[in-house]
């Protein structure tokens, strides 16, 4: 087995941080969820999407390094997924302890994004600038409605003026 490169580890690390960050948000807001643990090999343990929130839908978190300006998904990997997630949330990992939610898209819209060989010279990809994504604020009311804690719903609604 070949050794791992530092870039491979860093790329994967960014993905792990984004997923943990979103998971911590669901925990804080007391939103029940199933999450995927890719370390489990047996398919009955796997979801093949990052989160499933009952009453909301499936969520794939796409994480990007701090210098990223665009939402980019490799066509090869996206097309290989059997189930299109209901929502794709883009998270820019600023540091190990801070992430910025850049926005979201319905999963069905990802494959409609344009391919630009100048942006992805090595492999075909779906891409757009972060500012073209939908604002996370639009998703908040529906997500928060899934919380099982009325106090949390009230507090977060007030904080974010939902």
């Amino acid at each position: 087995m070949r050794g791992l490169t530092l870039q491979e580890i860093e790329d994967r690390r960014v993905g792990v941080i984004g997923q943990f960050a979103f998971q911590s948000l669901l925990q804080e807001w007391r939103i029940p969820y199933l999450t995927d643990y890719p370390l489990f090999r047996f398919r009955e343990h796997r979801l093949f999407v990052d989160f499933i929130v009952p009453g909301f839908g499936s969520i794939e978190v796409k994480s990007f390094p701090r210098y990223a300006e665009r939402f980019i998904v490799k066509k090869r990997l996206w097309d290989a997924t059997l189930k299109t997630p209901d929502y794709v949330v883009a998270i820019r990992v600023i540091s190990d302890s801070m992430c910025k939610i850049e926005g979201w898209l319905p999963g069905s819209e990802v494959a409609k994004l344009p391919y630009d060989p100048k942006v992805c010279p090595y492999e075909e990809c779906y891409q757009t600038r972060f500012e073209n994504l939908r604002r996370f604020r639009e998703l908040l009311p529906k997500l928060l409605a899934c919380s099982i804690d009325e106090e949390v719903k009230k507090r977060v609604s007030e904080e974010f003026q939902i």
């Binding site: 087995m1 070949r2 791992l4 491979e8 580890i9 994967r12 690390r13 993905g15 792990v16 941080i17 943990f20 960050a21 979103f22 911590s24 948000l25 804080e28 890719p38 370390l39 090999r41 093949f48 290989a80 997924t81 059997l82 998270i91 600023i94 190990d96 302890s97 801070m98 992430c99 910025k100 939610i101 996370f136 604020r137 977060v156 904080e159 974010f160």
Partner: protein, 48 residues
């Protein structure tokens, strides 16, 4: 307990803040995942 929300508005944008130092967890988990993907490719496990 001082309440520190994980989702914070910074200059109007939503940020998630992780209060705990999980750097070591991220390191180990990322390496484990990559090794698992290498093994899966070697033994022809697929995501489907």
């Amino acid at each position: 307990m001082i309440y520190k929300p994980k989702l914070r508005k910074i200059e109007g944008d939503p940020f998630i803040v992780i209060e705990d130092d999980l750097s070591e967890v991220f390191d180990v988990y990322a390496k484990l995942l990559l090794r698992r993907y290498q093994e899966d490719a070697r033994f022809n496990f697929t995501r489907d």
